[in-house]
């Protein structure tokens, strides 16, 4: 009789541990999904800002056609790859970032442009959006790390494989320049 109760107790404890770990995994997986959606929001914001910025810079620096074309091309390619995996998107977004950096570097050479209020506002928006992209990526990667740890570490890995929780992909940027993003700072 006592043995029966002990076995029953162990089963109940295991059941609770199972539920807690399963729910923990679901929570982490949702956090990863949500963080990924956050990156999307910021990337979209950047796509929307670029045509505006290109138009403004064009008004002052007509001769830099190649730079404009590169930015627009990189933007369209990145936008078209919206449904691709983290690795592919990371590469395209990295290219867009470096094209934008060149555009802003070009703008430096035009003093009238740098005095334009519209341009200054756009520049703050763009550099903040760049920051938001990298912070949302940072949060996404932190979330993926926690989630992947849970799916691979004992004992939650047992539940992860039973429940079909697969490890997620990190969002890494593959263009070398992007590893040290140029800080646009106006203090």
């Amino acid at each position: 009789m006592v043995a029966l109760w002990i076995i029953l107790g162990i089963i109940v404890v295991l059941l609770f541990a199972f539920i807690a770990m399963y729910n923990g995994l679901v929570g982490l997986r949702n956090q990863v999904k949500n963080a990924w959606a956050q990156i999307d929001v910021q990337l979209k914001r950047r796509y929307d800002l670029i045509p505006n910025l290109v138009e403004t810079v064009k008004g002052y620096a007509k001769h830099e056609r190649e730079v404009f074309e590169n930015v627009t091309k990189a933007r369209n390619m990145a936008q078209a790859a919206g449904a691709a995996g983290a690795a592919e998107r990371g590469k395209l977004e990295g290219e867009l970032s470096s094209a934008l950096t060149r555009l802003l570097a070009v703008a430096e050479a035009y003093p009238e442009l740098k005095a334009n209020q519209n341009f200054l506002a756009l520049q703050e928006e763009l550099s903040s959006t760049e920051n938001k992209i990298s912070f949302s990526r940072q949060f996404y990667n932190d979330s993926v790390l926690r989630y992947n740890n849970q799916t691979q570490m004992f004992p939650s890995n047992i539940i992860a494989s039973m429940g079909g929780f697969k490890a997620s992909e990190f969002f890494e940027v593959t263009v070398p320049e992007e590893k040290n993003p140029p800080k646009v700072s106006f203090s």
Binding site: G27, Q38, A121, E125, S128, N131, F135
Partner: protein, 329 residues
């Protein structure tokens, strides 16, 4: 994040529980002395506590923002400040961007409020806003958002209310005693007199010491949370130097926040009373700024583990960051 919050709560919960016991004891002796019934005192303590608690819970943030003269701003008013708050909410994974407030004051300070991450607000003085560059602003805002994320605002509100209740009860109780209050003596039978007298002396001592003890516990909780918010700031910005250099500017300024008082002090980034009051470590709501800067600059990386290591080097191996949080960043 969840495990981190839970363990933070556990760690500070001990101190809060001690404060709660103190509150119960004060109520117990109050009842014993004035009403001949310990239960009556406990009930009074509970009613005062619940009343103040409800006000703090539902009105605390608007009272705090109102008292400090803070004005809510929209993105168009200050795009950069607003952007920085948005960036740090994203980095910390807050569900909603906090409201942004400006306090028209040349002093350098900032604070966060809001009982849960969905109803948070950050406020910054115009003086600080003007003096910081973008990286420093990011560090300060990240520190405030760290308070929100670690649920410090709620924790500090709970402890402040307990402290307030203890102070109020003890203050009135001791005043009434000196006026010769207390209706106990004559109706008691003689037998239990000695025990009763001893109990009452203990009670009197407790009523006098409780506010001081509660204050010290409150300060200890507050300082702990400051270190933790610094660690969070480094983790979110991945750039501890930003906050370190902002703290340096704060340390070098000597204007006090006009609208600050004892109760709201722990909400600020640095002690709003500045250096004018010669306070020793354990009498202060905030750790010494120089030490906070040293820890931030000694960090080898940007994670909680790096902060923990830097902190330990300065405190003979004693840690500050909860163990469960160390693996997460």
């Amino acid at each position: 994040m969840w495990e981190q919050i839970r363990s933070n709560q556990l760690r500070s919960a001990m101190l809060v529980v001690i404060m709660g016991i103190l509150l119960l004891l004060v109520g117990y002796f109050l009842g014993l002395y004035f009403f001949n019934s310990a239960l009556g005192g406990l009930a009074i303590a509970a009613v005062i506590w619940a009343f103040m608690g409800l006000i703090a819970f539902f009105q605390g943030d608007s009272i705090l923002l109102g008292v400090s003269g803070a004005r809510k701003i929209e993105k168009a008013d200050d795009p950069r400040l607003y952007n920085v708050v948005e960036e740090m909410s994203i980095a910390s994974g807050l569900p909603k961007v906090p409201d942004v407030y400006i306090i028209n004051d040349p002093a350098l300070n900032a604070f966060a409020t809001g009982r849960d991450p969905n109803k948070a607000a950050v406020a910054i003085t115009s003086g600080l806003r003007d003096q910081l560059n973008r990286d420093e602003l990011q560090g300060v805002i990240a520190h405030e958002i760290g308070h929100v994320k670690n649920r410090d605002v709620l924790l500090m509100a709970i402890s402040a209310v307990m402290l307030g209740t203890i102070v109020i009860i003890s203050w009135y109780a001791t005043r009434f005693m000196f006026w010769g209050g207390g209706r106990r003596s004559s109706r008691n039978n003689e037998g239990g007199g000695a025990i009763q007298a001893v109990l009452l002396i203990i009670g009197l001592i407790l009523l006098i010491l409780a506010p001081i003890a509660a204050q010290l516990i409150y300060l200890a909780i507050s300082r702990k949370r400051e270190y933790l918010a610094d660690a969070s700031s480094a983790l979110y910005t991945r750039y501890p130097e930003g906050l370190a250099s902002a703290l340096e500017k704060l340390a070098n300024s000597n204007t006090q926040v006009r609208a600050a008082n004892q109760a709201t002090a722990p909400m600020y980034t640095i002690n709003p009373f500045g250096k004018k009051r010669a306070v020793t470590d354990w009498m202060s709501t905030h750790p010494p700024i120089a030490e906070r800067i040293r820890i931030l600059r000694a960090m080898a990386g940007n994670s909680y583990a790096d902060y923990e290591k830097a902190y330990q080097q300065m405190h003979r191996g004693q840690g500050i960051v909860p163990k469960s949080a160390l693996g997460t960043g």
